[in-house]
Symmetry: C2
Subunit: 344 residues, 2 copies
Amino acid sequence: MPVPTIEWKSGKIKLVDQTLLPGRFKYIYLKDLKSLWHAIKTLKVRGAPAIGIAGALGVLLASEKSGAKNYKAFKRELLRSIRYLASSRPTARNLFWALERMETVLLDNDSISLKELKMQLKREAFSVVKEDKLICRRMAKRGVSLIKKGDRILTHCNAGGLATADYGTALGVLFEARKERKGITVYVDETRPLLQGARLTSWELKRNGIKTILICDNMAASLMQKRGIDKIFVGADRIARNGDTANKIGTYNLAVLARHHNIPFYVVAPASTFDLSLSNGKAIPIEERAADEVLGFRGVRTAPSGIEVYNPAFDVTPYDLISAIVTEKGILKKPYAKNIKRIL
Amino acid sequence: MPVPTIEWKSGKIKLVDQTLLPGRFKYIYLKDLKSLWHAIKTLKVRGAPAIGIAGALGVLLASEKSGAKNYKAFKRELLRSIRYLASSRPTARNLFWALERMETVLLDNDSISLKELKMQLKREAFSVVKEDKLICRRMAKRGVSLIKKGDRILTHCNAGGLATADYGTALGVLFEARKERKGITVYVDETRPLLQGARLTSWELKRNGIKTILICDNMAASLMQKRGIDKIFVGADRIARNGDTANKIGTYNLAVLARHHNIPFYVVAPASTFDLSLSNGKAIPIEERAADEVLGFRGVRTAPSGIEVYNPAFDVTPYDLISAIVTEKGILKKPYAKNIKRIL
């Protein structure tokens, strides 16, 4: 039973505070851009499609709250809001994609009334949410064809309902497999440093009645060697024109291990994840986050003070290691450069 | 300045309680076998060579405390103690190796006085400690030849002074490189679930003035791809006749990543780590530990309740992925089956 991760509610943005999970499931209501920016930055809302939605709803929030009396003032105000939201996190393409959609509506409608323009912006933001729900279900239907009965599947981080409006990308495929009674077992990387796998993915899978086994990230190779893994499914934060894919740190590790053990490695991501302006993954901006995330967990310090840390939030998996990319428009195979262009 | 990790002190076993590090450096004094067994089991003392020493000193403790009046009773008592200590942890070869040394002294001396036998056992246990110090320094001298000026090195778990009597296996090599002013940078895997890398290795490296950068285990591939790693050095818990090597979970991950990125992968381990009774690594018993270690850290719960866990404490790296094995008797290269036999 999908529950909304993020939606518009009586003039506010309502979202699940994911930093409290799995201990507590709690909605928070945001009524200003600063709180939203902070919620994105601190991962109260996270997952590429979900922060795209947050971006669209953020622009809607700015629009609804604006007291501007004319288009020029309104435009200046909203463009500033868009820039501000864009500064929250650098890697996921979907945030910029959603902000660009809102910006296009703003810029293309300079000759209608402000009231009408605000209505249009609202319609566009609602479309972003509605489409995400539809797209995730479409990807799930397509992706499930890759899953055989009894498959042992490994996933990383959280590409579930919590990373989207309500259904998920990679996990959507697994929910669909469950519906079709394929009897899958899903191993979940805990995904240090912020443990989205342990905290969010295992919570979602369990709620959906899927057999779930949690591992530490460094146990993946042992798992492949000793127990056997049939497939890997992950989400994506940004995909370049050649198929190079940025996703949560540790994804590239898995892709290399998958290659070594001859395990198919699948990425599940909506078209909004693709950045056709980048010829390859080297140009994808990778967010580096605070050392504190690695030095401990929830206030429990685990390393000596004064230790330097390397803490990239994402890595880039070269296209060559990816077996297929599941999108709402079809399952893409190599050569990606050609097939991405054709389908998108 | 090496400090003793474990030693005999006025009839007790004195050891650093490693579960308190890096917050607190504290010696504890054990005067009965049950406390020692518990200290090994809960990783107050850990690291293959160090638990070998713990085993030898444990037999010494049993011997010193024995009130047996004749050889037969004494032998029965000590054999029981040896079996008990052997049940603490299954994977590290060094524990059994040290217990076998003590057992040999016990069984070979059935015709001397109990007082004399106890003296012999004490001498043997002290030899185990003394030899470890010597052997680690010898491995360090040999291994340092593999390190070039400015090398960026990655290590996993803790193969340092804390894993031995006082100097370390893999880290011993790095300490030697530091002495020779090779200007190395060492990246340290935090090593979930018990974080020996974050807690112990970064603490040891920093104390020794080595440039240290901490990462989460899943960042290793990104590190290799983006920053570059020149060499990997790890310890070992048991090495089979063909060179297959059991070491802390995550080692095999690294070895696969190293192969993919063309990075030399070195194991540093004393001769006591080799188990010539095993033709390959498949037969090495791998300890699986409690789910709680993965479900949280130090009382902070991070996963939903009722989630199943896979928590092997070690994995086995196939010999083919290992570039060389540094021992006190020389640096072993392929073919290992032949060279291990020749040198040991």
